[in-house]
Subunit: 208 residues, 2 copies
DNA sequence: GTCTATAACCGGATAGAC
DNA sequence: GTCTATCCGGTTATAGAC
């Protein structure tokens, strides 16, 4: 009992440490020693619990991915209109990414370099894009919205929301010349801007 | 003379090989041996020409960055209206990125992990966002467009254009379930879609 | 489960002959 | 300029005592 609690506690500490290292340095840049140090534990212990760097990484990646996927899909389930959908998606992403802005670059980078990961993950959790485009198509017809391709719209919303976090260093550096204050203001205003911008694009009747 | 031609030729071969390796594996994942192999040259030669991996990387990164920056800024210079601007930016990006889709992830990832690079690059080539937002502001007033923040609009266009390339593996995997044909069709239609979408968002008069 | 020590290997970099 | 051989530090992973 005592042992088990200890075990799970140690394992958790390792995963947490590993997450913060992998997420900031990537798989190739991460060092098992740094993970051990951050977990305040011996390096051998990390191998005792997870055997290889690769296995530890997979555990971390799935965790990180799950955090986002979980919150996104639950917010999709409950959306009954495009307006609600927009509010929910942007809201969810902003609440997750404002806290963990490094997630997009991490996920994108590791997935690009390791496409097998995708196959593995898709099997466990497929995003229900069918349901999503159905909702959009229905709305396009019933509310006579602009006849854009639903998939393009979905990607647009993802792009508008995620890109600024993925490319934060570029936007901060090149567009705001390193001015953190202006950048923060920009991010704060952006959630509402995206909603307004997308609505303005797809609704025929103007709401300014 | 003969030596010099050979030198420049060898150097070029190294840079080309290094580019393809760095761009796909990132700095941490890249191996000098693989670069040497690809350049069909000895590993010691790579060090002879560039001394360190870091120096070779910087040369490659600046080259890659330059390709994009060059074409973007020249297309910005010549744009006299928002319509032209949209056509030029999306057109330029698509022509560059359709050919080199790995650039966004590479640039974003390396810049996020190595912010000092940004400072270095900004000094040499600043993006003239001032001129850009001026044009947008003028257009907003004279053609009575929706009063969106010009900087948000700029980021929107970049996001809509670049994100699908950066996250290509995700979009291909999750939204198109690995169907390359559908994905290619999606990308081909996307350039025009972005133009239509953005115009629809910022123009008050509808052009469907 | 936890630690120390070390194996085994890899990768960047250099020495030195040609 | 080009090659072979090699050094050397660092990194993953394991052996083995406690």
């Amino acid at each position: 009992m005592n042992n088990m609690a200890k075990t799970e506690n140690t394992e958790l500490k390792i995963v947490e440490a590993a997450t913060s290292v992998f997420v900031h340095k990537g798989f190739d840049g991460a060092r098992m020693q740094e993970i051990a140090d951050k977990a305040e534990i011996n390096k051998a212990m990390v191998h005792y619990y997870f055997r290889t760097k690769q296995k530890l990484f997979e555990r971390v990646f799935e965790n990180v991915f799950e955090v986002v996927a979980e919150r996104i899909s639950s917010s999709l389930e409950t959306s009954k209109s495009i307006d609600e959908l927009l509010e929910n998606i942007t809201g969810t992403y902003f609440s997750v990414l404002a806290e963990k802005p490094y997630i997009p670059d991490f996920v994108i980078h590791e997935l690009n370099r390791n496409p097998e990961l995708i196959v593995h993950i898709i099997k466990t959790r497929g995003i229900n894009k069918a349901k999503l485009s159905e909702l959009i198509i229905t709305e396009i017809q019933s509310r006579s919205l602009k006849p854009f391709d639903p998939l393009q719209i979905i990607v647009n919303v993802l792009a508008l929301t995620i890109f600024p976090f993925a490319a934060s260093s570029i936007i901060k550096g090149f567009i705001f010349e390193g001015d953190t204050e202006k950048y923060d203001k920009f991010v704060n205003e952006r959630r509402q801007h995206i909603i307004d911008f997308v609505k303005s694009a797809i609704f025929k009747d103007q709401k300014t």
